[in-house]
Amino acid sequence: MSKSLTIRYFAIFRENAGLGEESVTLDAETAADVFALLKHRHGSGEPLGHCKVAINDVMAEWQDAVADGDTVLLFPPVAGG
């Protein structure tokens, strides 16, 4: 089922997408589906486990479901410190 989602991109994902946020309509059930369907935007060839995701400002797992109206934050591999 198609869902209206707000997607936020960070760091190299933002640079690859050319924007920090966009509204999309995707046939996605999980956060992992979102990541796969938007590969042409974030450009990542990294294994999913190296990246992180948050849904509506809460850290999430890739298998977590996304719902219509959610904001999905796609995080490339982190590198603090």
Binding site: F10, A11, I12, F13, E15, N16, G18, K39, H40, R41, H42, G43, S44, G45, E46, H50, C51, K52, A54, D57, M59, L73, F75, P76, P77, V78, A79, G80, G81
Partner: protein
């Protein structure tokens, strides 16, 4: 639970001032860690670093890491500050401070916090090199450079 144990800062970190917040009459030990910007990484001459965070979740996750350390090692107090923005060589990028009854748990908690901060918080760094190039650290394999939108697997 202190709500301000994790901070993201856009201005220079002052470890001496941060240390004062951890002074405690019950503490027999204080340990700290400072991460500094160095001028070389993997053979490349680094000019400066640029840190970016998603602050709401960096704060939430950092707070969680520190609470875990306090519970796990039974230390009295702990705090962390992480810089964002453009940092020059020699600047402090991250500071961790721990006070506790004895040194062993202070060392362990400090190590735990910096190790977890590096892998759990939504913080990214871009290295700017002397030769004019730049790269996101740890992202070398997650995307081709040059803003390609093709299939990269």
């Amino acid at each position: 639970m202190s709500a301000d144990r994790m901070k993201i800062s856009t201005i220079a970190i002052r470890p001496d001032e941060l240390r004062d917040d951890l002074v405690d009459a019950a503490a027999g030990a204080y340990t700290s860690f400072e991460g500094w910007i160095r001028n070389v990484n993997e053979g490349k001459q680094v000019l400066r670093l640029e840190y970016e965070s998603y602050e709401p979740l960096a704060i939430t996750e950092g707070q969680q890491v520190i609470e875990e350390a306090i519970a796990k090692f039974s230390v009295l107090n702990a705090r962390c500050v992480h810089r964002v923005g453009l940092l020059e060589i020699g600047e402090c990028a991250v500071w961790v401070g721990v006070s506790s009854g004895h040194r062993d748990e202070a060392f362990k908690a400090c190590r735990f916090i910096i190790d977890e901060i590096k892998v759990r918080l939504p913080i990214w760094k871009k290295e700017h090199y002397v030769d004019g190039n730049s790269d996101w650290v740890n992202c070398e394999r997650c995307a081709t450079h040059g803003h390609s939108h093709g299939d990269l697997t």
